[in-house]
């Protein structure tokens, strides 16, 4: 079955006839970090995929607001949290 990955967009071929969670495990993808899309709908980890299926594993994690090495400075002004 075809698996579409993103960032960068690419395709891999894996065996079908098993559950989505097993495909994720083989690809070493943490389920919490992706949406599993088949066609125009989402698929849960327990569902079966066949050799003819195409699924997209769309990463969900964005980031970059913390600087890599420098300790993060607090915002330049004090804030009091509401309640």
């Amino acid at each position: 079955m075809k698996v579409i990955l993103r960032n960068p967009k690419r395709e891999v071929q894996v065996a079908g006839g098993r559950r989505v969670k097993d495909v994720l495990r083989e690809l070493e993808i943490i389920p919490e970090t992706v949406l599993v899309i088949r066609g125009d709908t989402l698929v849960t980890a327990d569902q079966m995929v066949t050799d003819d299926d195409t699924i997209e594993l769309r990463p969900v994690m964005s980031g970059g607001s913390a600087s890599r090495d420098a300790p993060r400075r607090g915002p330049p002004r004090a804030r009091r949290a509401v309640k």
Binding site: E32, M61, R68
Partner: protein, 300 residues
């Protein structure tokens, strides 16, 4: 897997809630979590105009969509960072969204305000680009809100964002930053607006699922400068913990907010001044944004 609410086929499993939902019940769950966040932290009332900071990504556009559906009076704010095609495409998504929903969008360019786009700021400061970017965004969000009379700015920060920020602050024991981490920050000065995060109860995956199911056309590609960022590394660590122990992220964040944050608060407040150059709030004499603008001007 069956929907916990109605028994039909589930499209998403939420192990941390020991639940699975069909599409309509997941949409309702998602909106309920936003309603709860707004209520619990008194983020804004239906009468207040809300400025929604949007990037074109799944979180901010999902947030904007929910607030529109819930009947709030919203205006979007897109900050053009000048990051090559990424900024061109993300701006286009925001404009398309605003047109489709019949809501106003303000666009402000960082290059016009500080003298250079983020890629140039990066070379001028020789620091990670996220540093100048984040500083500029926070500054401009506040200033635009003030200038246009918005009492509150809402951002699309989700549970993963907040948990990762908390994780980083704890790993480095940033005791100044810890008490200031909250889903709602009050306006502690006449020139500061309220800053709220209505998606803080929802994970990044849940937010992505909502955006997908609602057919929101968001930019999937990441900012080209995001690769290798510490926040992403922290999110990965937390995601592994969540896989092993569902609920770990929300226990970490909510436990901090409910039981630990107050312990880091100081008795004396930091003195807030107005920048001698632009009038925005600073703890020094000249604010970090003006200092950065000077640095850019000297170098370009």
């Amino acid at each position: 897997m069956k929907c916990r609410k109605c028994g039909r086929g589930a499209v998403i499993e939420l192990r941390r809630h020991n639940a699975a939902f069909c599409e309509p019940d997941f949409v309702e769950f998602f909106r309920n979590q936003v309603r709860e966040a707004i209520r619990k932290h008194r983020m804004f009332t239906p009468e207040e105009a809300v400025l929604v900071a949007v990037s074109g990504g799944k979180d901010s556009l999902a947030l904007w969509e929910v607030l529109i559906e819930e009947g709030y009076r919203t205006t979007g704010l897109y900050l053009d960072l000048g990051i090559f095609d990424y900024s061109i495409e993300s701006k286009a998504r925001c404009e398309k969204f605003a047109t489709a929903h019949g809501v106003p969008l303000i666009v402000t360019a960082v290059a016009e305000e500080i003298g250079a786009p983020v890629p140039i700021i990066k070379t001028v400061t020789r620091r990670p680009p996220c540093s100048g970017c984040g500083l500029s965004k926070r500054y401009l969000m506040n200033r635009v809100a003030l200038e246009r009379g918005f009492p509150v700015v809402a951002t699309g920060h989700n549970l993963d964002d907040e948990a990762a920020t908390l994780f980083g602050s704890v790993m480095h024991w940033q005791t100044d930053a810890l008490p200031r981490q909250s889903p709602a920050l009050a306006a502690t000065h006449p020139k500061l607006v309220r800053r709220v995060k209505p998606l803080y109860r929802l994970s990044e995956r849940e937010t992505a699922a909502y955006a997908f199911l609602r057919r929101i056309d968001y930019i999937v590609e990441e900012c080209p400068f995001a690769a290798g960022a510490t926040s992403i590394a922290h999110k990965e660590i937390l995601s592994r913990m969540e896989e092993a122990s569902p609920g770990a992220k929300h226990n970490f964040l909510f436990g901090f907010l409910d039981r630990a944050r107050a312990a880091f608060e100081r008795v004396e407040a930091v003195a807030l001044q107005e920048c001698t150059r632009c009038g925005q709030v600073t703890t020094g004499t000249v604010c970090a944004f003006c200092k950065l603008a000077d640095q850019v001007k000297r170098a370009t």
